[in-house]
Structure formats: structure tokens, C-alpha cells
């Protein structure tokens, strides 16, 4: 398979993965382009091995993690979330608000914790595949996911305060 064919088929999916990881359109484009550049440099070997998805996903995620390490450690990606609503009315908007709260809570996780949750709940990978992608042990994946979910539960259980009152 040619590199161009692969990117035509999978480029948008890669960009979506990058966007879910970074929460920012510009960062996602930069991440995807950087990862594809890395992949292109080794494309013959990648294509010969067949099933390039796993390799490419690994490059995207590791590029994301190394990029986050290089940036200021205090930086928090908030993404394009809307301001939180504190209304507790049982209307359909409550689902949207809940998802926004989850996204906001996700953006506050450490990069590796976020990557683990994205790979598990967005990319639908099992723990072994996540471990392979991140280059860590499956036990570490499980521990990271468990801590990340606990952290999300804590954040979501904390009553939100209106901003800029």
C-alpha cells in the first residue's frame, strides 16, 4: 500500500484521535502531521509489516506524550468546552452538560492518564493493546486507568461553582 493511499483512508481517523487526545484543533493538526512525517520516513518497513494502524497509532500517541512532556508542565488543555451550567433540570440538555463536564475533567488529567482513557474508551483497545501502544506493562495500564477513573469521579462528584459570578 502506498503512503498516500493509507493516509487517504485513515488520515481523518488519525486526526480525530489526535483531536481527542489534545482537545485543540491546531495541536491536533500539528500532531497528526508530525506523526505522519515520522511514519513516512519508515513507510516501506511499516507497509511491509502489514496492518500499519497499530504502528501509526503508537507514533501519534507517543508524539502526543513527548510533546506534552516538553511543554510547560502546568499547562492545562481545556479544549473547546462551553461554560458549565449548574442547572439541575431534567431536560435533554443535561446530557450535553454531563458530557462537557466529563471533557473538562478529562482535560485536567495527566497526559498518560488521558491517553489510556482515550485508547480504552475511544479507540476501544484492550489493555494489552494499550500497553503495546504506550510501551508499558498491562498492569500499569490497569492501574493508570483505575486512578484516572477515580480522579474523574472525584472531579465530577464535586459540585461546580458558577464562573465569573
Amino acid at each position: 500500500m502506498e503512503f498516500e493511499q493509507y493516509v487517504a483512508a485513515r488520515g481523518q481517523a488519525l486526526l480525530r484521535l489526535a483531536y481527542v487526545l489534545t482537545g485543540d484543533a491546531h495541536d491536533a493538526e500539528d500532531l497528526t502531521q508530525a506523526a505522519l512525517y515520522d511514519v513516512l520516513r519508515h513507510w516501506r518497513r511499516v507497509a511491509r509489516a502489514g496492518h500499519p494502524d497499530a504502528y501509526v497509532r503508537r507514533v501519534v500517541v507517543n508524539r502526543y506524550l513527548s510533546g506534552r512532556r516538553r511543554r510547560a508542565s502546568a499547562e492545562v488543555v481545556l479544549g473547546d468546552v462551553e461554560p458549565l451550567s449548574t442547572a439541575a433540570t431534567p431536560d435533554p440538555a443535561v446530557g450535553v452538560v454531563a458530557r462537557d463536564e466529563v471533557r473538562r475533567a478529562l482535560s485536567r488529567l495527566a497526559p498518560r492518564a488521558r491517553a489510556v482513557l482515550v485508547l480504552r474508551y475511544y479507540a476501544d483497545l484492550d489493555d494489552a493493546a494499550i500497553a503495546d501502544t504506550l510501551g508499558i506493562a498491562p498492569g500499569t495500564v490497569r492501574a493508570t486507568a483505575s486512578r484516572a477513573l477515580a480522579s474523574l469521579r472525584d472531579v465530577l462528584a464535586t459540585p461546580t461553582q458558577p464562573e465569573d459570578v
Binding site: 510533546g67 474523574l152 462528584a157
Partner: protein
């Protein structure tokens, strides 16, 4: 809510993915970047080879003890790339300094883009071969001065060791300017990020060729009058520190135009 966290998490991530930007020419950008890297490395190797050859020739042609022949010829090493012309600094005495000073007095009128807004990259058009291009080539800008390529620039920041810009504080990427045959006068380039506060600098790409320390990131770039002969192209580099939407105001004696391009930072 927390009892249903996992399904909620799936929904939230799916929602977020649905808002992802639309992929552009990802393969083309990656391949272009690889091509530029190979060209850059080849250029560096060629420059080293030229220096070695010329040094060897100098030794061969130089005066030898006891030699009674005619004086050896001067061996002059011209800086590469030869298509470039010297930077014309403010207050300098290059031939077109006064004309460039007049261009410099023109106010900047760069467009503005809201942070996170779409970058209005100048439309690309296909130009026929010329100016060193052996086939049709893409360029952005209304002319007579254009930036070749599709208006998308990627650069390493912090600049890595193979960029020629390491330690300079500015990343960089090679660009080639193209000037129509009809325009004979001087040109002045100035620019900045238009969706954020970052600056934009320029150089003559000499750093990447080992001809310069790579520390010179000029706030403007001037090309003296060259005379109307044919399409001419100048290798150069835009020097950057962050991703974003950038505009260059190009002033010539008979025109003023804006080139908008998008720069993407790659971790080194």
C-alpha cells in the same frame, strides 16, 4: 452521573471526535517535509564537498617553496546559494538602501484573525516553469512577489541539530520566493503572526547550509532591484517560534501585497 461514568466517557469522547477538524492534504504535507529535509541535508553535504574541493584546489594552486612560475590565481569561494542576494539592512549602504528605506516607511497593514479562527491562507496558483523550477510549480500570493508552495509551512521548534538553527531561539523552514519577470525594483518583506502575538523573522537560508551561524533572524528581508529579465527565485527561510497564522506584507515600488500562510510547529 458517576455510576455511569464509563458510558458517559465514551459519549463525551465520541462527541469530541465529531468536532475534529477536517483533514487536509496530510500526506502531501508529510512528503513535502521529507523532501525539504532531504534537500537540506543534501545541500549541507554539497556545501561541505564544495569547501573541501576548493580548499584542496587552493592548496594545489597555492605558491610552493622554490616555485618560479607566475603568481597563483585567486581562488574565491562564493557563498551558496548563489541565487540569493545580500540582505539590505536598515541604514546600510547597499545600492538600493534609499529605495528600501522608502518602502520601510510604509505602514504595516496586516490582517487580523481571531485566535483559533480559520487561517485565510493565500490561494495557491500553478505557475509555469522558470526561475529554476523545471516544471509547473505552486505559489501563493497575488504577485508580482509570491511564496512558492501551498502556503503551509512546518518547522521544528525548538530547532533540532540538523536544522542549522539550533540555539538561535528561532526555528526555521526554507521557503523560495518567486518574483515575476515584469517587476524590476526592490522588495521589502515584513510580517507577524496574525492570530496571536508571535513574531516572524527571515533569513537567507544560509544557516541551514552551514554558511552562517544560524543566529541571524532578521525582522525584515530586503531584495535590491534586480532588473526585469525573467522570473527569479530566491531561497530564503521564515523563522518561527510557534504554530499559527502568519502574514507577510510585501512592498515594492509599484505594489503592496499580503501573503498569508499557516505555520505548524513540529517537536524536534
Amino acid at each position: 452521573m458517576t455510576d455511569q461514568l464509563e458510558p458517559l466517557l465514551r459519549d463525551a469522547l465520541d462527541d469530541l471526535a465529531g468536532q475534529s477538524p477536517v483533514a487536509g492534504d496530510l500526506a502531501g504535507v508529510a512528503r513535502g517535509r521529507l523532501r525539504r529535509r532531504r534537500r537540506r541535508l543534501a545541500g549541507g553535504t554539497a556545501a561541505v564537498a564544495v569547501v573541501v574541493l576548493v580548499a584542496g584546489a587552493a592548496v594545489w594552486l597555492g605558491p610552493r617553496p622554490g616555485s618560479s612560475g607566475p603568481p597563483a590565481r585567486d581562488v574565491r569561494v562564493e557563498p551558496e546559494p548563489t541565487a540569493s542576494v545580500p540582505y539590505c539592512p536598515a541604514g546600510g549602504d547597499c545600492p538600493d538602501a534609499r529605495a528600501v528605506d522608502a518602502l520601510r516607511r510604509r505602514p504595516l497593514h496586516l490582517p487580523a484573525v481571531a485566535p483559533g479562527g480559520a487561517c485565510p491562507v493565500s490561494p495557491a496558483r500553478t505557475l509555469p516553469e522558470g526561475g529554476g523550477f523545471t516544471g509547473d510549480y505552486l505559489a501563493v500570493g497575488e504577485g508580482p512577489f509570491r511564496m512558492t508552495g501551498n502556503g503551509l509551512v512546518s518547522f521544528e521548534y525548538p530547532p533540532g541539530p540538523d536544522t542549522g538553527y539550533q540555539g538561535s531561539g528561532w526555528g526555521g523552514e526554507k521557503v523560495i520566493w518567486s518574483i515575476d519577470a515584469e517587476y524590476p525594483g526592490p522588495v521589502l518583506l515584513r510580517g507577524a503572526q496574525i492570530d496571536g502575538p508571535a513574531g516572524l523573522r527571515f533569513d537567507h537560508y544560509l544557516g541551514a547550509l552551514g554558511q552562517d551561524s544560524g543566529t541571524t533572524a532578521h525582522p525584515e528581508l530586503a531584495y535590491p532591484a534586480w532588473g526585469a529579465r525573467a522570473v527569479r527565485t530566491f531561497p530564503s527561510a521564515v523563522r518561527l517560534q510557534r504554530s499559527g497564522c502568519y502574514a507577510i506584507q510585501v512592498d515594492g515600488t509599484s505594489f503592496s501585497s499580503i501573503i498569508v500562510f499557516r505555520a505548524s510547529q513540529l517537536p524536534s
